[in-house]
């Protein structure tokens, strides 16, 4: 058995880079340091279907086809659709994403990533009011006040707390005892059970609570006994802790982006952080989900000028979330051909969007049997980034990390599949001119 060290985990945006993989006969059979979810990704589970050959749905059933036939069909769908949508991108590496943006431009498609069902509202907010961010290293070494708002890292980012809060840092040499941990969640979540202060606010009231905290910070009194279900005195206590931070950090997640107010909640949260910088050093980091969702927003921005929901239908990039988002296009029945890569909208889009996916040709570049492949007409299995092929991914706060190849699958990487589809789309477009 061989031990491969310093492997980067391709699951969540925490991008843990200290995984040890146990490899036997070109297969990962065990891991060290990985969390429960990361371990499940590295080690193949008995009975789970892994696609090794391209498939096409013919008369209702997925049947094996040649790679050439699958690539041809995928290119034809993209080239011939009037309003193609290319969605996903967050579970692959940056070079593949760059080819994807070129392909979207060539096919005059809309390109969008999983941010649009996740931290999209955060992107809208940071475009409105700014992005006072820092790195994990600064959090570990400096942070004495840590806030998790609307997120449950014990479940969604299982090693986030151990790396950033419990971990010992240069100026926080005892680790957890040197930090005040505040969790804001309507549930008594497993993360809140570890907190010094749990603000159990009423759901859908994040905006009210953030605004009340800003008012207190700016020297106003709260005129009510409680705001969002939190007693006035508690709010004073928390604001006092925040403004006396030597180095404070706000981590925030879906509890705030998916609740009523959406991007306006984040607007106010960012403004709270900015206000706090009058008396403290305070920063924020969004708790990004997929390991390279941040990378796509970076790549798409430097290629097209916009981070997601980019519409190339006129030949130049246009950006209007709410109109050019995947859910808007599917639910309004605009999309008439869809390519899914490195994500699973079948599992994570609402029913109304899936009703459209059932009607239109769908290409899935996907290694496993998923709800998306159940809806797909063409399935092309790629090598899995971070295990079977290498590439660059961006950690949730924007630090690029090189993903390693651990074993060989003999399958094409995403970037190679996309290059072949791009070449074919160019041929079809040239022939039709």
């Amino acid at each position: 058995m061989e031990l491969v060290k310093n492997v980067v985990c391709p699951f969540c945006g925490t991008l843990c880079d200290d995984i040890i993989c146990k490899v036997e006969d070109n297969e990962i059979v065990g891991t060290k340091n990985a969390c429960r979810i990361g371990h499940s990704k590295f080690v193949h589970a008995e009975g789970a279907e892994r696609y090794r050959k391209p498939l096409m749905r013919k008369s209702g059933e997925l049947v094996e086809v040649s790679m050439d036939e699958a690539i041809d069909k995928a290119a034809t769908i993209l080239a011939e659709s009037k309003r193609p949508l290319m969605y996903g991108w967050s579970c692959t590496e940056c070079d593949a994403q760059a080819v994807g943006v070129e392909l979207a431009e060539e096919a005059r498609a809309v390109i969008d990533n999983t941010a649009s069902v996740c931290h999209g509202p955060s992107v809208l907010a940071l475009q409105d009011v700014g992005y006072p961010i820092c790195t994990f290293g600064e959090v570990k070494n400096r942070a004495d006040v840590v806030v998790y708002w609307g997120c449950n890292p014990m479940h969604a980012h299982p090693r986030h707390l151990s790396r950033n809060v419990f971990g010992r840092g240069f100026f926080r040499d005892r680790g957890r005892p040197d930090r005040t941990l505040i969790v804001v969640d309507p549930r008594k979540s497993d993360s809140s059970k570890l907190a010094d202060i749990h603000l159990q606010l009423d759901f859908n009231k994040d905006y009210e609570l953030l605004d009340a905290m800003r008012a207190v910070l700016l020297g106003h009194e709260i005129l009510y006994d409680e705001v969002a279900g939190i007693p006035r005195e508690k709010i004073y206590e928390v604001v006092d802790a925040l403004k006396n931070a030597q180095f404070g950090i706000l981590f925030f997640g879906m509890g705030i982006t998916h609740s009523r107010g959406k991007h306006r909640n984040i607007d106010t949260a960012i403004m709270l952080v900015e206000d706090l910088n009058d008396s403290a050093k305070f920063t924020l980091i969004p708790m990004r989900g997929h390991y390279n969702v941040t990378g796509f927003n970076q790549v798409c921005t430097w290629e097209s000028g916009y981070p997601y929901c980019v519409d190339f239908s006129t030949g130049t990039p246009r950006y209007n979330p709410g109109e050019t988002g995947s859910n808007d296009l599917l639910q309004n029945k605009e999309t008439d051909g869809m390519m899914v890569i490195a994500s699973d909208p079948g599992a994570h889009f609402p029913q109304k969007a899936l009703e459209r996916m059932a009607e239109i040709p769908v290409i899935a570049i996907e290694p496993h049997r998923t709800p998306t492949t159940e809806m797909a007409d063409v399935v092309i299995p790629p090598a899995i980034v971070g295990m079977e092929t290498d590439g660059t991914a961006y950690r949730m706060e924007g630090v690029p990390i090189r993903m390693r190849k651990v074993v060989d699958s003999g399958l094409l990487p995403d970037r190679e599949i996309l290059k072949r589809i791009l070449k074919k789309v160019k041929e079809i477009k040239a022939a039709s001119k």
Partner: protein, 130 residues
């Protein structure tokens, strides 16, 4: 009975999606509804029994489990996935992001069975284009 539905990650759902969405593990992790134990007693439902969850946007059958992370009164929690997404509010409010949390739902105990992933997806009636 009327509730507010919350959805999101659990570590068991995360483990299941990475192990294989075609496994029983996924059904056990995501086709469930967490409910406070007092609420279960009040409704007379036991862990492992099925309920039908209905919203303005759809319906789904899921299995009741006791919430280990206590919920505020009147809240239910279904882990993110194709079962929860049958009932969440699809509207994006012009932000591109659907409303996955805090959806009003009505629940009733049922004898109907929980569907596995392929059967659930078949319900969308995929048209074979070729």
């Amino acid at each position: 009975m009327k509730f507010t539905l919350n959805t999101g990650r659990t570590i068991w759902q995360g483990q299941a999606i990475e192990s294989g969405k075609d496994l029983k593990m996924y059904v056990d992790a995501a086709a469930i509804c967490q409910m406070n134990v007092e609420q279960m007693e009040k409704m007379g439902v036991k862990e492992g029994e099925n309920i039908k969850v209905v919203s303005d946007f759809g319906d789904v059958i899921v299995k009741v489990v006791m919430a280990k992370e206590e919920l505020p009164e009147g809240m239910l929690y279904i882990p993110m996935g194709p079962w929860a997404n049958r009932v969440i509010r699809p509207n994006t409010d012009s932000t591109a992001t659907p409303s996955f949390k805090n959806v009003p739902v009505d629940i009733t105990p049922t004898e109907e069975l929980v569907l596995d992933m392929p059967t659930l997806m078949k319900g969308y009636g995929k048209i074979s284009n070729y």
